[in-house]
């Protein structure tokens, strides 16, 4: 799953997304030498960061000296194209980003924002990690997850289905089954 080479010249892009949130802790940690070294060691060549409303600016790099190429932007009307071209996605724990990435069959590490007041978001990421659909990390442990992950062991997610709900609603209201 996703270990294939994408794009030209064996470019392997890691796409980081924080959605519409402000999650500087994640942007900071993917910009850290520790995480960048680990990504390079795992064969990734490019790091593209969608940084949302955060204020921390990562250091851009062209990657000419054999290091990881780093680029960033704040928002995009559709991140689908970026997700499609990525070999690995590192995302915040919003359900929108999680399911969009899983539907595209991309390997995913979800990083839980420890600073949120009502942190129910970790529930979903942890449950999906338990079912081996993705990896779940916290900012301080992200480099360990990258070092130890085995993307072949991830189980593809089969998209859910709303018809059971629709059936129950129709039955409740007295509409005939079809």
């Amino acid at each position: 799953m996703g270990e294939s080479l994408d794009g030209v010249k064996g470019k392997r892009v890691v796409f980081v997304t924080v959605g519409t949130t402000c999650f500087d802790a994640l942007v900071k940690v993917v910009d850290s030498q520790e995480v960048k070294d680990e990504l390079l060691r795992r064969g990734y060549t490019n790091l593209l960061i969608q940084m949302g409303r955060g204020s921390y600016l990562p250091t851009k790099s062209t990657g000419d000296d054999g290091s990881l190429a780093v680029d960033y932007f704040t928002f995009s009307s559709s991140i689908a194209e970026y997700l499609k071209s990525a070999s690995l996605v590192i995302s915040h724990a919003g359900s929108g980003s999680i399911f969009e990435t899983m539907r595209l069959g991309k390997p995913l590490i979800v990083v839980v924002n420890e600073d949120l007041m009502d942190n129910h978001q970790s529930e979903l990421a942890e449950e999906l990690a338990e079912r081996k659909h993705l990896y779940c990390a916290r900012p301080p442990t992200l480099h360990l997850t990258i070092a130890s992950m085995d993307l072949k062991s991830l189980v593809p997610y089969s998209p859910g289905d709303a018809t059971p709900v629709a059936k129950l609603i129709n039955r409740f209201l007295g509409f005939p089954e079809d």
């Binding site: 359900s95 709900v165 129709n170 409740f172």
Partner: protein
């Protein structure tokens, strides 16, 4: 002597007032109990006619889940449709408009879009404390009441967060005072695996939702009156 008469007369009238008040409260209570008893019971008569439907859009992931549900519901049964989203959430309204216009295109000119789009003050923004949300909930309630009087839906579809709670309470009050009988459906977000959201918990505990859906078995074990329906996404 005269004094005595007038005195007993005022006694009588105040007694009458108290009895009227007690009778009124009793009627309301009986009605509330009746509505709670009927809540969750399927509609007895078949409804071959289309039902006016209020769709409350959450935000981000909530809206995506709701749209997945709308895609499999029969459009001709749930019509006209009224979409309500938070005042700060233009993205959700935009998504609903795209969905509705795609439906209008596919039926090519049979009739115009039978949908309306509205926005409402939120009772609680993400991250707002529970204490200040008491006041913002009140403001949201008044605005919600105004919109609900205009819509008077027969079906309410919602999946959190905060925005839907005032609307559901008003729908419930409409049932009690006989303005409009409605069926309220709540789908807890896929992001809730172990604990219900605040709006979910209230709608479940107060028995306001006619049918309550959860997407994870852990929640179904905790809340047995809920229907476990698997993942919507």
């Amino acid at each position: 002597m005269e004094k005595n008469i007038s005195c007993s007369f005022s006694d009588l009238s105040s007694n009458l007032g108290i009895s009227c008040f007690i009778a009124f409260i009793t009627i309301i209570l009986v009605r509330v109990i009746y509505v709670i008893y009927r809540t969750g019971k399927p509609l007895s008569k078949r409804s071959p006619q289309a039902l006016s439907t209020l769709i409350v859009l959450g935000s981000g992931g909530h809206t995506a889940e709701m749209i997945n549900l709308l895609l499999v519901l029969q459009k001709d049964r749930f019509t006209p449709r009224f979409f309500i989203a938070a005042a700060t959430d233009n993205m959700s309204i935009q998504k609903a408009r795209v969905l509705e216009s795609s439906w209008a295109d596919s039926q090519s000119g049979v009739k115009g879009i039978s949908a309306e789009f509205m926005q409402i003050y939120r009772s609680r923004e993400v991250g707002q404390s529970y204490i200040t949300s008491v006041w913002t909930t009140l403001v949201a309630m008044v605005h919600a009441l105004w919109l609900m009087i205009k819509i008077r839906p027969q079906v309410v579809l919602c999946n959190g967060p905060g925005t839907c709670f005032p609307l559901c309470v008003i729908a419930f009050i409409f049932k009690v005072i006989g303005i409009r009988w409605s069926s309220i459906f709540y789908v807890e977000s896929i992001a809730r695996v172990k604990r219900l959201s605040l709006s979910g918990l209230l709608l479940y505990k107060l028995r306001i939702a006619d049918q309550f859906f959860v997407q994870w078995p852990q929640l179904h074990r905790k809340y047995p009156r809920a229907h476990y329906v698997g993942c919507l996404m």
